[in-house]
Symmetry: C2
């Protein structure tokens, strides 16, 4: 065991206690009553960076929640790595479904249960712990590091792009690494090559100026729910293809090589269906399920409402109906252009008698893609291969990490995903948890990654760990 | 002024105070917390029948809310008239929109404001007051009368058909007259020739066994909102015609004569649209708006819900989506058959990947129609013509009065509509009110109607008031 591994081992109880402290802060960014808690979480993370030996640590105010920065820049010509995470969490309701209270961390069967355990206070702390272990045991770091933690990720990071743009010198880097992410499985690592972008809007359909009696008015007065159903049902072909004119225009076809690589990733469709309680999957027929989830754009209605929703019968002819839609986008679809196409489609399909309005939703995000053989991926591949004794799958993510597009467009830096959460950890749901084994492994992985990155910049080799040695990260 | 008119005049203050007492009882039949208030309202009405001189007054329990009965059967061979009303009211929320509290009646500008004022505690009391005035001033009534008041009208009368069937001897009659209804306008009476029936169901669409992340699952996992939108949009042609196979099969065409009569009723479509804030009306192109509202069946989605309905964006791929649908039916559509057709249509249009279930909603009701020249209508026509100095319009009602179908099928008796509410009185809405002029006029009208009915049974004449004299009811 090398010194920084021993350091992590020796300090394990303290690290776990720190994670518990961090998880006790209900830093729910979407709820105004938690604005002070979000601030406290940012300050806690800043304090932890100071204790890890970071310099220039600062909590920057924004027009929304704060940003946390800290750096260590004494590695000379070595690459500069920007390490990203977020201190905010999703709301915890419904509270009654939690076995232990969401903001009172509870360790059961080798797992720590709390809102934010998996997404992503555990992951964030791993990146700090790994960095600290190297710095404290070696007296220096092999690369220059900058930490940037936001506190608005769970609400779509509304103030982050402007902050990054305003502080582009402060945040300048050769590579970003995001601690916010997953591995494929407990025994299988992955390198994610991209994520989908996002564009969303709300449709507001209005008919009469009040809810009316469906008997007295039904038959002559337009029903906004009928209109909305017609508009929504015009958006997909029966086979699941999106039928918005121009929707697929910007899509860059994924290479046969990558499609082959995706096809080689084991995917048990029957088990997947069973776990979701589904008899069939749906979607574009000429793509496999994983391709539909990763490399193809989608349009989903996230919510719909109008009229009477209670028990029994209420014969109302509603005055309005509403729906929220988000599209997941792939390179090189432009989110703003997609909103234009959607709006034009909705206007074309709005029937007489009702008014239809469209309002963009927050969270517009560019799709993001990193070349498979990027030196950052090579470093991650080497570390993960050593750590899991297995080559990572090269995957993509169906979800959206807006920060990746922001770092690429503003800082000119790609982002490598390097998170150790797992897909079954009840992220965004009651009883969220993190495996303590992942917490330990993540901290070791981050130390190994910094060592590996120091060797890789500019390299095109795809060999395994060199200077850091495969012994650095036990399989 | 004849004696019973004087009686009504002399007792006007008392009658109004009684109406206020009645309105203070929050007899909301749909809310469990008001079950005792509904009982109290039934008992109040029973007590009022006793004071009016009725006999055999009884509050019958049912498996739901109670029924109130009372009679006066000393008119020998004269016809027996069953007088119908309901003591329950709609919920009063949203409370904050009421100018005065809904269960604290407030008289402003010749109107009494309270939940139930117009629908229909005022109307109900008018029928009792008119009967009482005759009985107290003449010592007898010209017809046999039976009062039956229910307390479930606002929740679809679930226990009323069984009660009527069980008590068919008690309720046996030559004609029913319902106090629950409207006149055309303050200066224009109407005789309603029918109302539409009702059949409703809820559609429950389920996809995955939980709400999922739309980024991680969108594209391969079926979205129940998409499925529901497709099902709902398949139910109408673009021109508003219902496209459920077989939906119009049972419809009996309304005669040219009645269509001509409807066409003669003034209907200012532009004013109607303006009042509703609409640029266009919709519906079956070969029928006028009034025909679409009265003599044609409809299918309306009353409510829809699924997924995220809050502010901002939440990228959920929902596990379920729901809608409630009711159809208004005309003679001779059968509500149960319509539910079968709807269910078959929904099953045919349910896409792969989701499960679609259908549950019937309570409130199934037969459409109802009374011959225009029925002796009950002739009596109502005569009274209304004298009272308003204007011939009534012969209209229909787009809404549903399930009791009419029940009385016809179980008791073999038609029901004449004889209510004095007006369409602008905020029925089912905040600030419901009744004009005090309608309250006074209604009481006089009921006395005149009983006198007129005594003369009309078996008659085919269409002349105006005879024995009671046109002087009985000032124009």
């Amino acid at each position: 065991m090398n010194p920084w591994e021993s350091y992590l081992e020796v300090h394990r109880a303290r690290s776990l206690a720190e994670l518990e402290d961090f998880l006790r802060l209900p830093s729910v960014s979407s709820l105004p009553e938690h604005v002070d808690d979000v601030q406290r979480a940012a300050e806690w993370a800043a304090g932890r960076l100071v204790r890890a030996g970071m310099e220039h640590v600062e909590v920057f105010p924004t027009d929304g929640h704060p940003m946390v920065y800290g750096d260590w820049l004494h590695a000379g010509d070595a690459p500069t790595i920007l390490m990203y995470g977020h201190v905010d969490v999703q709301p915890a309701d419904p509270f009654e479904l939690w076995v232990s209270p969401p903001f009172e961390p509870d360790i059961r069967d080798g797992r720590i249960y709390a809102r934010g355990a998996s997404d992503m206070k555990g992951n964030l702390l791993e990146s700090v712990l790994g960095t600290e272990a190297l710095l404290q045991t070696q007296g220096s770091l092999p690369v220059n590091v900058k930490f940037i933690f936001e506190a608005e990720e769970e609400i779509g990071s509304p103030h982050v792009p402007a902050f990054v743009a305003e502080h582009r010198s402060l945040l300048a880097c050769d590579l970003a690494v995001s601690a916010d992410g997953l591995q494929w499985g407990e025994d299988q690592p992955q390198v994610a090559l991209g994520c989908r972008g996002l564009a969303g809007l709300q449709i507001d359909v209005r008919g009469a100026n009040a809810d009316l009696h469906s008997g007295l008015y039904g038959g002559a007065v337009p029903n906004p729910i009928h209109a909305l159903a017609g508009i929504l049902s015009s958006m997909h072909d029966p086979d699941g293809t999106v039928s918005i004119e121009g929707f697929y225009d910007g899509v860059v076809a994924v290479s046969d090589g990558e499609r082959t690589a995706i096809a080689e990733i084991p995917f048990d469709e029957a088990a997947y269906r069973r776990s979701l309680g589904l008899a069939h999957l749906v979607g574009e027929p000429s793509y496999t399920p994983l391709e539909r989830l990763w490399i193809r754009p989608t349009l989903e209605v996230n919510g719909i409402w109008g009229g009477f929703q209670g028990a029994g019968v209420k014969t109302v002819l509603p005055g309005e109906a509403h729906a929220k839609i988000t599209c997941r986008l792939v390179a090189a679809q432009d989110p703003s252009r997609i909103l234009e196409l959607l709006t034009a489609h909705i206007e074309r399909h709005a029937p007489d008698g009702v008014t239809v309005e469209v309002q963009p939703l927050p969270g517009l995000a560019q799709p993001y893609s990193i070349p498979r053989d990027h030196w950052g991926n090579q470093a991650a591949d080497a570390v993960l291969t050593a750590l899991y004794d297995k080559r990572p799958y090269y995957t993509r993510m169906g979800g959206t990490l807006p920060i990746c597009g922001t770092f690429l467009s503003v800082l000119g830096a790609y982002t490598v995903g390097f998170g150790f959460a797992l897909g079954d950890e009840q992220i965004h749901a009651p009883n969220e948890f993190l495996r303590l084994s992942s917490f330990d492994r993540g901290a070791r992985a981050w130390a190994a990654l910094l060592l590996e990155l120091a060797e890789r910049k500019g390299s095109t080799a795809s060999s395994a760990i060199s200077a850091s040695g495969s012994g650095a990260v036990p399989g």
